[in-house]
Amino acid sequence: MKKKFNNLPDINGHFDQYGGMFVSETLIYPLKELLKAYKKIAKSSNFKELLDSELSSYVGRPTPIYYAERISKELGKSHIYLKREDLNHTGAHKINNAMGQVLLAKQMGKTRIIAETGAGQHGVATATACAKYNLQCIVYMGEEDIQRQKINVYRMKLLGAEVVPVSSGSKTLKDALNEALRDWVSNVDNTHYVIGSVAGPHPYPMIVRDFQSVIGYESKKQMKTLYNKEADILVACVGGGSNAIGLFHPYLNDKVKIFGVEAGGYGLSTGMHAAPLNKGKPGVLHGNRTYIMEDKDGQIQTTHSISAGLDYPGVGPEHSWLKDNKRVKYVSVTDKEALKAFYYLTEKEGIIPALETAHALAYAFKIAKKEKNKNILINLSGRGDKDIDTIAKMSRMDL
């Protein structure tokens, strides 16, 4: 029998050895409560209808798939398609999950929402949903990320969220997650924690994946109806891995090649990167067992990436499982390569991608140069407005 790739996690939240619920005792109860509510509420047809209608009228789904003809021709003989998650309200895929979770929290009777954010896209998405559904919103963000994603910080504040700077550890996404978990332990009764990626303890990797899978389901349909084609190759960037799994999951049992692109930073050999699937090993971080970047003593290493949203030493447990089972190939591109792809798409197609997304583009462009007559579908996870500051600084341009 052919192996199925889409029937995990098991009831304990495990993807074989990965995943699980590695949290302190106080959080077991809210996690189980969330799992129960998710099964009961989020799987009901009422909830699904409501979410679908919100996604269409408020978020702007379905997002289009765009055939990037100019770059396809210039790069070679393959065809590049872009799943335009950047066209979602707030500018990235993150809102698919934020809407789902905030709606669920509201129906669970929670009054206070917390979130962590790296690039700020998840923070903005969560703050947006909280404004709409009238819930208190607190977003934890590393001090370093606050510096490099200022525009998003201001957006969150405008939306009525409180942004709490995190100054511990590496002052990035990892530490924001720590702080959000600490908040949750202290406020479990009225608070729901909206995790922004397929990381964290069970049931988050499953819930976030399910809410993001709309990307893959739409893509399958649209490639048929819009272009009468099938994707041969899927490419997405992998930070925690939510936009990637969202595209990949509905395709896992199909005959497509799948690539997840991690942040290679200054290069894998320098140690200054955020590529746990390429260079890390299995360990336990933020409530689940997964590939992580650690030193010889098992301490979590600091990471480096030009993009705040990929600057994370762990990765969703399902990706670890897909790697070990060789269903998805995980590769990496450097800061420099990502930047080049950023400029290329901007100049040739008039689409400014997020720096996270630019990693997926850079690798997909490499494939396009080599392969012939392949339909390459890239998850264009977000738009680059938030990165304009960083880019301008790098090219010494005054804004």
Binding site: M21, S24, Q299
Partner: protein, 267 residues
Amino acid sequence: MNRIDNVFVKKERKLFIAYLVCGDPDLNTTFKLMNNLVKSGVDIIELGMPFTDPIADGPIIQKSVERALRKKTSIINVLDLVKKFRKSNKKTPVVLMGYLNPIENLGYEKFATLSEKSQVDGVLIVDSPPEESECLEYALSEKNIHSIYLASPTTDKKRLKEISRKSSGYLYYVSLKGITGSKINRVDDISKKIKSIRNMSNKNLPIAVGFGIKDSVTARKISRIADGIIIGSSIVELIEENLHNRDKMISKIKKFAANISNALVRK
């Protein structure tokens, strides 16, 4: 007999369990502090194994862990220190407390073997609840080392039963919904929960209460209802406040510990 079981049986008053992070500000000072804590009446030492991402800890212990990590304190250093401590102290139980990843990195078998060699008595891994701990628990039990689990105000009855069945040495009751360094406000609630744990556990598992005990008055109150009280952040805070003067650090901590020790009620 495991030292932990022994001290719970023999001690004539309720137990005083002290927590400190190993390697803060350095291994030598931790060693001195351990000995002085024992002299001031501490019955069990919980030695924190530093980890970069201590998600259950408040700012005081976070900073302590950061100081210990700046000195590159590893599990091996912690185990070596316990070995050194045992040369002069054969009686006081030592419990290693920390997070799972450094132990995964070392390997459960190796960790258990080295812990036995250092005469560690118990292990408490904050982010590894019983469901995820089977392999580690087995490796430790082979070496007669206790696995201590946490119970908290959010733990339901069914889990309480399971946790008290799986815990050995003692059960660590987390007094509040929060991180280390928070403050207890309602002793009554704790009392109720402890009664219900006692009713449901089928063996004479001691219950120690930790998180939020900062002074002798609260310590005394809690000691009326629990078999032991655990103090961490207040001791670690005294380390932080006296980093510039080690002698003063030790004398302040000695005084604080003696004061707590004297406040605890007899059995």
